[in-house]
């Protein structure tokens, strides 16, 4: 079975082939296939790869997963073959739309919206203030451009990743 795994801003093709007795052949990208002994239980995956012993914990996080082992954290998104193909067909839709949409990185309450539709904004300019856990956080535009939509109002409660403001990026060199 082939999966596409997004991690650290890159996509990795990973092939998994059961090799019997809890063992799997794993091939990452064009790398050499390795046979590992794996124990899977709940969010735990324990891998024995030669003398390397790796206990990886996985937990749901948003639409992806949060992985931890050896004291380090990472976010991974595992796509099956069909989803990966569909994303590829759409030409990296998520990435292309990302720059112009300011999202709330966490659930919280909108304290204030700092811009209106039609406003010109510069990259790094604050567009909204969202409060969570007794702290106010100013969220900034990633790109310069014009505000085309404001999706929230003061006092609204928002989920993590909620769209706050959409910015039509200015033409390069304009």
């Amino acid at each position: 079975m082939r999966f596409t795994i997004e991690y650290g801003g890159e996509s990795h093709a990973v092939d998994v082939t059961p090799a019997g007795a809890g063992r799997y052949a794993i091939q990452i990208g064009d790398g050499e296939a390795r046979v590992v002994d794996a124990f899977v239980d709940g969010g735990l995956v324990h891998l024995l790869d030669g003398t390397a012993s790796r206990a990886v914990q996985l937990g749901a996080r948003g639409d992806g997963q949060h992985g931890q082992h050896g004291g380090l954290d990472a976010r991974v998104t595992v796509l099956d073959a069909a989803t990966a193909r569909r994303r590829a067909r759409l030409g990296g839709g998520a990435g292309a739309a990302g720059g112009g949409v300011v999202r709330s990185p966490m659930p919280g309450r909108v304290v204030k919206v700092l811009v209106e539709v039609g406003d010109a904004v510069t990259a790094g300019q604050g567009v909204a203030i969202v409060e969570a856990m007794k702290m106010e956080n100013e969220l900034r535009a990633e790109v310069a451009g014009t505000v085309t939509a404001v999706h929230v109002a003061a006092d609204d409660r928002v989920d993590g990743d909620a769209e706050l403001v959409t910015i039509e990026p200015a033409e390069a060199g304009a």
Partner: protein, 497 residues
């Protein structure tokens, strides 16, 4: 002793207090807001009362609801924990008026220490050193300048009504003084509607060191060592340790005696903490007294072998405390790291559902957590989810154990500041034990980076887990002959997706 005690708090401190109550066979009563209905501190209690909606002002700070909860459940005493109503003299009075015991200091002591200028005057009269400063607001700028020259520059101009850094000016040179006073006045008037400002000597590169005190109704008053709390970010403590690696034994003894004098000056009862600023020359100055249990009290408990909550219970019940000054001998070293639900790089909060969790254990490890594997961290409350403490025979061992404990910690689903702690603990000034309150504003050592083997392990694990899930799903579909076929489901997903 009490048979039933209500804990007017949530999270880790509610659980901390609950544990000592259970150790003593006292029945704990939990309170909760609607958002905390299934929070860990409620699940750990046998008796729990809802005190209102998610907003603290309407629940954990709702005095009527908290008192009513105590009445309904037959609690004889209320332990306030820290924060919320713990330093509210009005509430302390109302608890007593309701015929209940307040597990905290007398309301009068809370009031004296709750007002900066009153606290300063009270302890100064008892011979406690305070930061040299004017005890009255500036009316004549020239006289104030003469005072500033006398105590020596730099000085701090502060709004009397101040807070949050507004109306504050650091003045390094006499020629800037009058202008700074004017600016601070304008800012104070705008922010607080009161343009009164006063002047204080600025302690250069200060250390924040605090002394734990205990006072009972039988004339007993002791100090239980100090805690070094200089590792702060935006005045929020992040790492604490006991003993302080900075102060000398002479300073420690002098501070302890002065802290007891400060507590006696306000007729204190119970557990309290006297905070000091300590300069590079070991000169120390009273900052304030916290009239409650501190967040970082476990490091004291580890080094002195005292259960501070148990002492609070004894004292509130009118018994003498169990400790004597000469028997309080420190042993080893303890460090505490506050685990916050926040990004270690951007400091953005990270509330949400925890999808996996394991706490460290083993030699010298103590965890005071407010959450478990079934918890959601709500967005309305403090972001601290746990305190990790380690004890070692010496400071070096305590720090090495903390690195290990941090590595053993698993919290999935939300982001914690775990990685930040490794970096702080490796900061050369922290390692050398000579850090002041500016340490977290200086560049920290780089975070550990994952290597290729780590990445491959992560990718293989994520792929195998998904493969197993797919195989299991297939087996379930095959076991249900009448159910939807895998092919049909896949087809529908494709259409809908």
């Amino acid at each position: 002793m009490f048979e039933r005690v209500l804990i007017a708090n949530r999270g880790e401190i509610a659980i901390r207090v609950m544990r000592t109550l259970r150790d003593r066979g006292i029945s704990p009563v939990a309170i909760y807001s609607e958002a905390d209905r299934h929070a860990l501190h409620v699940r750990m209690a046998d008796v729990a009362v809802c005190v209102g909606p998610e907003a603290s002002a309407k629940s954990y700070l709702n005095m009527d609801a908290v008192l009513d909860a105590a009445r309904r459940t037959g609690a004889q005493a209320i332990h306030p924990g820290y924060g919320f109503l713990s330093e509210n003299a009005t509430f302390a009075r109302r608890v007593a008026e309701a015929g209940l015991t307040w597990i905290g200091p007398p309301p009068g002591a809370i009031e004296v220490m709750g007002d900066k200028l009153t606290a300063r005057r009270t302890v100064e009269a008892a011979g406690v050193p305070v930061v040299p400063g004017l005890s009255e607001p500036v009316s004549d700028p020239d006289a104030a300048l003469a005072f500033a020259r006398e105590v020596g520059f730099p000085v701090m101009v502060k709004a009397s009504a101040g807070g949050g850094g507004k109306g504050m000016r650091l003045v390094k040179r006499p020629e800037d003084f009058v202008g700074a006073v004017d600016a601070a006045r304008r800012e104070a008037a705008g922010a607080f509607g009161d343009d009164a400002v006063y002047v204080e000597k600025f302690i250069v590169e200060p250390h924040h060191v605090e002394i734990q005190v205990l006072c009972d109704d039988h004339g007993g008053a002791v100090w239980v060592g100090e805690r070094e709390c200089s590792a702060q970010r935006r005045h929020q403590k992040v790492v604490e340790e006991c003993p302080s690696p900075f102060i000398t034994e002479e300073t420690r003894q002098a501070m302890g005696a002065v802290a007891v004098a400060a507590a006696r000056a306000c007729d204190y009862r119970g557990a309290g903490t006297v905070e000091f600023l300590v300069g590079g020359d070991q000169g120390f100055y009273f900052l304030e007294m916290n009239t409650r249990l501190q967040v970082e009290h476990p490091v004291t408990e580890l080094v002195y072998g005292v259960d501070l909550v148990d002492e609070q219970l004894r004292i509130a019940a009118g018994q003498p405390m169990s400790v004597r000054q000469e028997a309080l001998i420190p042993r080893g070293h303890a460090v505490e790291c506050r685990l916050y639900a926040e990004d270690p790089d951007t400091y953005l909060p990270s509330p949400g559902r925890i999808t996996g969790l394991e706490w460290p254990t083993g030699p010298g490890v103590r965890v005071d957590a407010g959450v478990d594997a079934h918890s959601t961290v709500p967005m309305s409350y403090d972001p601290m989810v746990a305190k990790l403490c380690t004890w070692g025979a010496d400071r070096d061992q305590a720090i090495r154990r903390m690195h290990r404990a941090l590595d053993e910690t698993r919290v999935l689903g939300i982001t914690t500041n775990r990685a930040l702690h490794h970096r702080i603990l490796k900061h050369p000034d922290f390692v050398a034990g000579r850090y002041d309150t500016g340490v977290l504003a200086t560049p920290l050592p780089a975070a550990r980076k994952p290597d290729g083997g780590w990445r491959d392990g992560l990718l293989a694990a994520a792929a195998i887990a998904r493969h197993e899930e797919a195989v299991r799903g297939q087996r379930i579909r095959e076991a249900q002959p009448g159910g939807p076929s895998g092919w049909r489901t896949a087809g529908r997903n494709r259409v809908l997706g």
